[in-house]
Symmetry: C2
Subunit: 482 residues, 2 copies
């Protein structure tokens, strides 16, 4: 373990004295779980984990960190997919955990707004909204651990973006502590506010590199009155997108529209217990559709799906379809979707890419990019699944059979990733659709972003965090400018 | 007229030589119309107006301006309400007109996206969308002159924000030339893109102080199938908001919900020809409601309004209501709303404030702030009208009868404005809901913004426009930092 610097020790002593033992963890055994990311890919180190109880404590800590030049890694549920909340391995930063700030300050069903602290876990927010007859319409696999601060800082997505947008669309206000310890209070949920540059928008998705989000005002929706979940088999991604457009034209209340390749489904059926195929025959591609109604007087979502699916069957746009007969079956359909990554892991090494391209070009991209990758890297198997309607898929390339796991990850995977990312850039897409840059994609961002963009990102970072103490080594480095 | 500096002359010569006579206007008579804002409040001066034909020409001009240290004032339709597009009076800046960049590069009804150049006039965009069976759901009084670049740069609002949001919500991509002449191409309409700080969001509403927006990807909506326009009389703003909540709970397709005080309506009836009151009796407050349907199979908006209005009448929440019987009557209702400012101008001097507070607190604010202003400034008459559902009203204070116009504007109005703005800040609101800061509100922003916010705005401005050549004297000054 690296030695604690004198400046770090001064900050630790300051927090201990001002905010008590609850606010400081230095026992290496207790700090350890928070120095490795949840997928075990990034291993960092930190001499301490600081846990402020409120915004004023965060501000005091940041002001002191600024004065001492001590780097800070903000952390919520530690569920980053890109190592965004893992401290550097040299112990040069302290972890600033927001988990103690877990209060829902207010939840107003009349205005459909909730003011929620950074450490509130997504599932807790779901439950609180539900208790008030509302819902927070964003969910993802890590909902039992991911916190509001992290969701805001990464502009998180998930499976309901199609209708409700990413976090950016659901955030009405942001409270944050800037790198110099000043508090930005942007919580007031003004629907119109043109007083200059929108700091809230800048902090959303900044991955804690421009300050620490301490709370957010979030938009709620009416609770779901009824939902319908369907599973369809289709010939091509193009047919799947055409089906989605058909459903949207009728305003069928579609919230999720996930595409799943036939062979990925086969992996789930092979590796995950208690799963069965929703349709009798095998199909090249599948889609999982969820439609909901939010009002008792709205059309029944089941009926809203049934008619267009029947019509699509008749015209041959889809090959087969089934509606879940009850909630248990609906959950079983979703389990297939949610088990895709686990099933793939069980089947061998694979390298994953969270990418987006313009929606209209995604069907062709899914086919062409997979073919290109398989041709360029013989023996690999490339598949794409996920949020077709958002133009966002998880593009995975599996290692050839019999490949040496460690060697393949170390030598082949990075080459494959660069190849896939080049295809994405050529298609006018994004190498990070929803996971962010973190430390995983930092080098690729530097390689692929237009110089104009990199220059602007660095200028902003330098302007707001001149000492580079906020989540160093993530998103963008303060490399010397030309 | 101030003398043209040598650096300015070099830039003018450069543009003339590279891009021809079409790109340069130096005749004072031809430049003059663009040096005064459309309401005639701000008078500037400029030795030349540059009119690039495309993004590359803008980039070349900005690169040269940067090298020469020549300030530039980007201008579209010159319809700013806050002097945001008027050059400084000392002739120290050239005007950069975007009006020649008036092409709609693409309009794709399938994807509901249009890529539109900065100089396209809003009404032209409306017509192009309509021709494709779509609409661009943002409109405002200046639609015949306001351009897309200005609408993006000011995050414009209008009367459909309630359902469709401000420009920010309607912009899927931004192309801009940064102050150093680099082109930021953010046009690709990715629904998910988490590659670091969102430069598009930073440029939206930056009023041309961080660069020149040259084009935008805009979201379209289905064309309106049917609309219904209603007029209701209510006792209080609180009742009006309760009516809106009732309509929203039924998803009645309400796009506009405008509140109008009884005495403002009386001014319209008095001063504007061919106007008549929609309801027989006089009421303390009125609301104008527009509901629309975008699909042939959607509920008829007329029916969707009728039932809740009848119910509200029965419970006494509203005093009276009438539905427009045809399009002519609907237009006549809207004319009353759109004539409010003109009628007020005809009735004497008044000072206007475009302000917002959280929606739930707006009804009380409208009453309390008006009372406070009238008490503090005896003889004045304060009224608020506009976008109640957005928490945004135009708060006007009329001069006492017989007040000396010039003296009142010069001496009383600024004091009144500071008083009103103090009330807005105390109510956690914004002193600029939709018009921006420009030069009109710059001093008030500096007086009222939290130091943290001002510090951050200046840091961002300095980072992206270190020489201060982009729209100097607007939004925020580069005052020396502490």
């Amino acid at each position: 373990m690296p030695e604690t610097t004198s400046a770090q020790q001064q900050l630790i002593d300051f927090v201990l004295e001002k905010f008590g033992a609850k606010a400081v963890t230095v026992d290496p055994g207790e700090v350890a779980p928070w120095t490795t990311d949840w997928r075990g890919r990034y291993h960092g180190d930190a001499p301490a984990l600081l846990s402020p109880a409120n915004t004023q404590e965060v501000a005091a800590i940041m002001a002191r960190a600024d004065a001492l030049g001590v780097a800070i890694v903000p952390q919520g549920g530690n569920t980053s997919m890109v190592g965004g909340a893992t401290p550097p391995p040299d112990g040069s930063a302290l972890i600033l955990s927001l988990r103690r700030m877990n209060s829902i300050r207010s939840l107003n069903p009349e205005d459909n707004l909730a003011v929620v602290e950074a450490g509130v876990i997504l599932q807790t927010l779901h439950e609180a909204a539900e208790a008030a007859g509302r819902r927070f319409p964003l969910t993802l696999g890590a909902r039992g651990s991911a916190t509001v601060g992290g969701l805001c800082s990464t502009n998180a997505g998930g499976t309901q973006v199609l209708r409700h947008g990413t976090m950016r669309a659901l955030i009405a206000g942001v409270e944050a502590v800037l790198p110099n310890g000043e508090i930005h209070n942007g919580l007031s949920a003004l629907k119109k506010d043109n007083r200059g540059y929108d700091l809230n928008q800048l902090l959303i998705g900044a991955e804690g590199t421009l300050g620490v989000i301490t709370a957010a005002t979030l938009r709620l929706r009416p609770a779901i009155v009824k939902r319908a979940v369907a599973w369809a088999g289709v010939e091509t991604p193009r047919d799947a997108l055409a089906l989605l457009r058909q459903l949207e034209a009728r305003d069928a209340g579609v919230e999720s529209f996930e595409i799943i390749p036939g062979d990925s489904l086969a992996l789930v059926l092979e590796h995950i217990p208690d799963t069965r195929a929703p349709l009798q025959d095998r199909h090249p591609w599948h889609v999982l559709i969820e439609a909901v109604s939010e009002r008792t007087d709205s059309p029944d979502p089941r009926a809203a799906l049934e008619a267009p699916l029947a019509a699509a069957l008749e015209t041959g746009r889809i090959r087969d379809a089934v509606l879940a007969q009850n909630e248990a079956q609906a959950d079983a359909f979703w389990k297939l979707r949610d088990s895709l990554s686990e099933a793939e892991r069980a089947s061998g090494p694979a390298v994953q890419h969270d990418i987006s391209v313009p929606v209209a070009t995604m069907p062709a991209f899914m086919i062409d990019a997979a073919r290109a990758a398989e041709t360029r890297f013989p023996g690999t198997h490339a598949t794409a699944f996920g949020h077709l309607g958002d133009g966002n898929v998880h593009f995975h390339v599996r290692a050839p059979e019999g490949a040496d796991r460690d060697r393949w990850y170390a030598e082949e995977a990075p080459v494959i990733s660069r190849f896939v990312n080049d295809l994405v850039v050529a298609a006018d897409g994004s190498i990070s659709a929803e996971h962010g840059i973190g430390q995983m994609k930092l080098k690729e961002l530097e390689r692929l972003a237009p110089p104009t963009r990199l220059h602007a990102l660095r200028a902003i970072k330098r302007a707001l965090d001149p000492k580079g103490i906020c989540n160093p080594g993530k998103l963008v480095t303060l490399a010397p400018e030309a």
